[in-house]
């Protein structure tokens, strides 16, 4: 995997944790609106970086059968 793709995966895992994990004290989501945009940007980053890594041949070939 390229460094860029690794960073994107790490960002999405970070978003999962900071915004979806941890001790919830108030029971509400303080950053509700901002969350959505951030997560959306992060997910797009991962998809594009995985595609790029595959084109460059640094990811394993994807077989036909899963």
């Amino acid at each position: 995997m390229t460094t860029i793709a690794e960073q994107d995966v790490a960002l999405i895992d970070l978003l999962d944790r900071l915004l979806g994990g941890g001790v919830v004290i108030f029971g509400d989501i303080t950053l509700a609106v901002a969350d959505v945009d951030l997560v959306y940007v992060g997910l797009r980053a991962l998809i594009s970086s995985v595609a790029t890594a595959r084109e460059q041949g640094v990811l394993p070939e994807m077989g036909d059968a899963l």
Partner: protein
Amino acid sequence: MIELYAITDHPGPALPDARVLRVVSRGSLAGVYGDAGDEAITPDALWRHEQIVEELMQERTVLPVRYGTRFADERAAGQVLEERREQFAAALERVRGAVELAVRVIGRADQPKVTGPAQSGTEYLRARLREHASESEAVHVVHEPLSELARDHVLRPVVLADERMRAAYLVEATAVQEFSATVQRLQDAHPPLLITCTGPWPAYSFTQS
């Protein structure tokens, strides 16, 4: 306003960045906090927050708090520590000595999507069945061996296109290398899957009972 980063043991070692961080303590629990800023929520800001919690994690057991948790003042934060003392103390024991590792399995990208506008009902059902089978297979070949190396785990619903599995594992700090080596072996054995593993993270996914 103050922002709470993590709950930890009291007393504990000196704070890594005493200029920025302070402690509010109640009994055997401490909350580590700093002044709440008004910076925009960017990836950099999130990483800075994460860096603070990870620095705390180097020398103590931490229960990370959901990002954006703010209080009017130290007294308000201390009140929550006191009210939920038993719950937090039990949660700290559950994660003591362990770290969180995030694992994601992504399948090949050229498989037909479930949500195409031109799909018939039959095509939709077939695609959905294929996806379901792929998710079950990923759980079987990836999750089962990894869960044996973990103290606890959480499987989350998949969200990304082509995502087959999203999981978090609570792993003994001493077993991280073995876990990582196992992920690499699984990746080598299953080339049609892309398996990513990040961490060690603070135990964000294991703070609830």
